[in-house]
Subunit: 436 residues, 2 copies
């Protein structure tokens, strides 16, 4: 099928799924979960095809082994997929929420109600788990989705796509095209050009991958390319706590976007703090790269070069810089950070407030590990992704990032002519009580 045809079907399906009652949407999600459990043998069979093909690539050295682990499904993984879909059914429906209600004049009432976006383009790498997860989030929020998964997982993805579409058909056949898959890179290129039909792209993957999507479409893109996060250790600090947070934020899971890459430390704390930090990092095998002042205190720290302040290592490597003041720390973060997640460690509430206010990032923290920046931890139930955008949705994004709103104005034949000119009627602009 041509990608244009797929996009047009998605747009038509979006108008239908956008107005489905919550109960019907949830019924479809439960049908997906049941089918995953019931048909897991067939899914494993499709997955074996992918695993065999990919194993050969790994053995030939054309692909990294960890990818194979992420690709390979098991009974447990499939049951977890089904659980994930059921948990989306349990989330409150993000569509139809009244955001505001205002009487403009007698009998002329305006409500602002959440609505789906329309068609989501979801492009991701490797793991087949992403297919039911993304499809269920888009479905629950009343959107149609066109997905492109990793080519290694093609057979698994294809089976999952059919399973989900068949489950949707059991509740409403006309909504099947709310979930569609494309398979090739050429399809993705074609999709990126179809901004007339796609209301939002949600890419998940490496920095380079996300940046490619951002640079090749005129449609809005929700996500982040870089996650260059900092921890700033202020003058007045609980040393043990600061070491523990800097350790957690770097070592607990270094390959993720909300791990820190740079520790900034105030000159007055550096002498006491850096030896403790270096000792902790040394035990975890962290490669430390610091400025001259840091190396003067802990000689084992390697010399940092200019590029270190702008590198997202995603690895057990950290850069360390001594700063003269809170202001210098804030300026460094605003210059080199990727507006993702930034934390200050301090016992000084005033300094913390200044940092939280003046640092320009999606999530700012005080005495907490940057690793908390995550949709599940932030209580959103499920995560669409983390956004460093300045518009629409920022930070960890849940179902709320997949909806927008429309204004509904209900009158009794009201005319604008009555509200203009010298005899103009005034507006009442009286807030209305919330209704079911």
């Amino acid at each position: 099928m041509q990608v244009l045809d797929i996009a047009q079907r998605a747009k038509a399906a979006a108008l239908r799924v956008g107005t489905l009652p919550t109960e019907v949407k949830n019924r479809a999600l439960l049908a997906v979960a049941d089918a995953l459990v019931h048909d897991r043998e067939k899914l494993l069979e499709a997955n074996r095809e992918d695993v065999i093909r990919t194993s050969e690539l790994v053995e030939r050295g054309d692909m990294a082994r960890p990818l194979l682990d992420r690709l390979k499904l098991s009974d447990d993984k499939i049951l977890a997929m089904a659980e994930g879909v059921r948990s989306v059914a349990e989330l409150p429906d993000p569509v139809g929420r009244v955001l505001s209600a205002l009487e403009l004049d007698d009998g002329l009432e305006m409500t602002q109600v959440t609505t789906p976006l329309g068609v989501i383009g979801a492009i991701f790498e490797s793991r087949p788990d992403a297919v039911p997860q993304i499809a269920s989030l888009c479905w629950k929020s009343g959107n149609a989705v066109i997905m492109k998964g990793g080519s290694e997982a093609q057979a698994s993805n294809r089976y999952l796509g059919q399973l989900i579409r068949a489950a949707i058909a059991t509740v409403d056949e006309r909504c099947m095209d709310a979930v569609q898959l494309v398979e090739t890179r050429e399809d993705v290129s074609a999709l990126l050009a179809l901004d007339e039909y796609i209301d939002l792209f949600v890419p998940r993957g490496s920095n380079a991958f996300v940046r490619y999507i951002q640079e090749h479409t005129r449609a809005p893109v929700l996500g982040h390319a870089d996650g260059l996060c900092h921890a700033y250790v202020d003058a007045n600090v609980d040393l043990a706590q600061a070491v523990a947070v800097c350790y957690d934020a770097k070592v607990q899971y270094p390959a993720v976007c909300n791990a820190i890459e740079t520790v900034l430390v105030h000159r007055d704390t550096a002498e006491a703090f850096l030896p403790l930090l270096a000792s902790a990092y040394r035990q975890a095998g962290v490669d430390m790269r610091g400025c001259e002042a840091a190396r003067a205190i802990v000689p084992e720290i390697n010399a940092a070069v200019a590029a270190d302040w702008e590198t997202e290592y995603l690895d057990l490597i950290v850069s360390i810089k001594v700063v003269d003041s809170l202001e210098e720390a804030i300026a460094h973060v605003n210059r080199y950070g990727s507006s993702h997640t930034e934390t200050i460690l301090t016992q000084d509430t005033e300094a913390a407030t200044q940092f939280l206010n003046q640092v320009d990032a999606a999530t700012v923290m005080h005495n907490a590990s940057t690793r908390f920046a995550d949709g599940f931890r932030f209580g959103k139930g499920a995560e669409v992704g983390i956004s460093t955008n300045k518009t629409h949705a920022r930070g960890p994004v849940g179902l709320d990032g997949l909806v927008i709103y429309k204004y509904c104005l209900v009158g009794q034949g009201h005319l604008v002519a009555d509200y203009v000119g010298p005899q103009a009627k005034p507006f009442t602009h009286r807030p209305l009580p919330e209704r079911g």
Copy 2:
């Protein structure tokens, strides 16, 4: 000054103005209003330059006369400008509002707080009134703005820019670069490419102008190119009311985006309704272009061609189509409409609900004129513009469209390591009471 330098200054100023207290921001706005009143003779002098230059163009036939009227300032217009700026000072501060507050665990609290976007690029045509209006909206919302006005108004705009910057300097000199102007088309081209510095473009002007901006930048653009709006007259309708609304929506001000271009009418009402509508439109000199079925009822209606259903006339011209059902009307609106504003006229609540739910537009209405879709009428105090975007802000946009939010997480040294693995602590995810 180079545009890159201007953009960098704007970005630096944005970090400052973004954290100014409400009282300081309002003081600057009142200083702008006072300066407008006090220095209006000098502004009128600058404006005379623009008027003389433009009059010559009008006399040579190189420019339309209505533009001259919009360009020409007067004492009254300047006093109205000052009033407008004062009214922005009176609006609630959109920055620092707590959107949600959640306890993640004991002593680990998250708040979601509104913040400015950063740097706004505002590009508009002709009227000098737009300079203080847009500057004050951006300033009140804590953003820096780079403006490009119409070249006819160059001297007026330049004077206004200096006046606003001088007023800002009286409260905080370091924030002066929060308001800057550029003057040439080349500057605009350069600005559109600087999406690294500009967080949002807000263009105001003709369809072609807005579309040009949308197509030449990677930054988000807030606004609408087209305003192709419909009124649908259903089977069960109050005829006099439907005629009055269709008249108001077309005739009251035909040159604006929220005026209707097409009337759709249900087959069962057409015979009774169309003669009444045609009689009203005839008296207003409206050129009517209809389908065969409409012309069979009212022969004076001219024959519509296919292009009529997709044309935004912005003039006393209307297209008229008879439809077989509510569903056909909804399909027509979703196909040809520009997702701006759509209204249904009906006494049938069920039909109205279906229309409001299934029509995909920023504003949907029942028994009201599309002309109500406007920020002031919708109670927003001041209007940034009307958006047909699907992300960020939709419909009439007030100050709320110039802010986003950040998450602030405050802990006591909380580590993610404690919340993962077999011994993982659970999150409480307990909503926190709102605090001042």
